[in-house]
């Protein structure tokens, strides 16, 4: 356990740790409690940004107070998570739309046409893209 820290560091770290723990609990409880898949996609974003962010900033404060250094590892992890979580959310929403939703029952986009997620990629439920024609002689 870290010892002999100045009081300001202890107070800051305690607030950040408790806040991060609270938001991670909120995210996990939302994952358990919310009714369907698209709403459940919304809950863990709190745990990803605020929960992890609080813990990482607390760790930066600890390194700054104990060793007098500015630590960059934590910033790397934060930047990586913030960059990748939208990609993951998009992929999971796409899996849900393609595999479980009836395409005809979705609301139409305001510009007409079809949703961009159905564009060129991916077979929808039940229909597979036709294999390329065999052109060998």
């Amino acid at each position: 356990m870290p010892e002999n820290l100045p009081l300001w560091a202890e107070i800051t770290m305690t607030i950040l740790l408790i806040g991060g723990a609270f938001f991670s609990l909120v995210g996990a409880w939302g994952l358990v409690r919310l009714p369907d898949a698209m709403t459940r996609l919304h809950a863990p974003t709190k745990a990803t940004t605020l929960g992890i962010g609080g813990v990482l900033i607390a760790s930066m404060v600890l390194v700054a107070a104990r060793d007098g250094l500015f630590s960059v590892h934590e910033l790397l992890i934060t930047i990586f998570l913030v960059l990748t979580s939208p990609v993951v959310a998009l992929f999971i929403a796409k899996v849900h739309l393609h595999l479980r939703q009836d395409r005809a029952a979705l609301p139409r986009p305001p510009s007409g046409g079809d949703w961009a997620g159905y564009g060129a990629h991916g077979p929808t439920r039940g229909e597979r893209a036709a294999p390329p024609a065999d052109t060998r002689q």
Partner: protein, 89 residues
């Protein structure tokens, strides 16, 4: 004071892992299971950082970074497998 905060934070992140596990087991759809696994990886990263803070060992940050990388790649690979039936085309 900081010991109590560390233990409380570790307890709630562990509880978060358990809630995600419940969603992995129960979750009616595949997308729910993938999302719960991704959140589990996030919580485990936080637990690793807390452990590094408590023990004062710096190598835990590298472990957490590797966990973040592997978690992202595995989530994307699983989604891609479900969408296309193939990971690398």
């Amino acid at each position: 004071m900081i010991e109590i905060a560390l233990i409380l934070a570790a307890g709630s992140f562990g509880l978060g892992v358990l809630m995600c596990l419940w969603r992995v087991i129960k979750g009616p759809e595949v997308s729910d299971r993938i999302l719960a696994l991704d959140t589990m990886v996030i919580n485990v990263i936080a637990l690793l950082i807390l452990m590094g803070m408590a023990l004062g060992i710096k190598i835990f940050f590298e472990v957490a970074m590797l966990f973040a990388l592997v978690g992202f790649v595995s989530t994307v690979a699983y989604c891609r497998f479900l969408l296309r039936g193939d990971i690398i085309e």
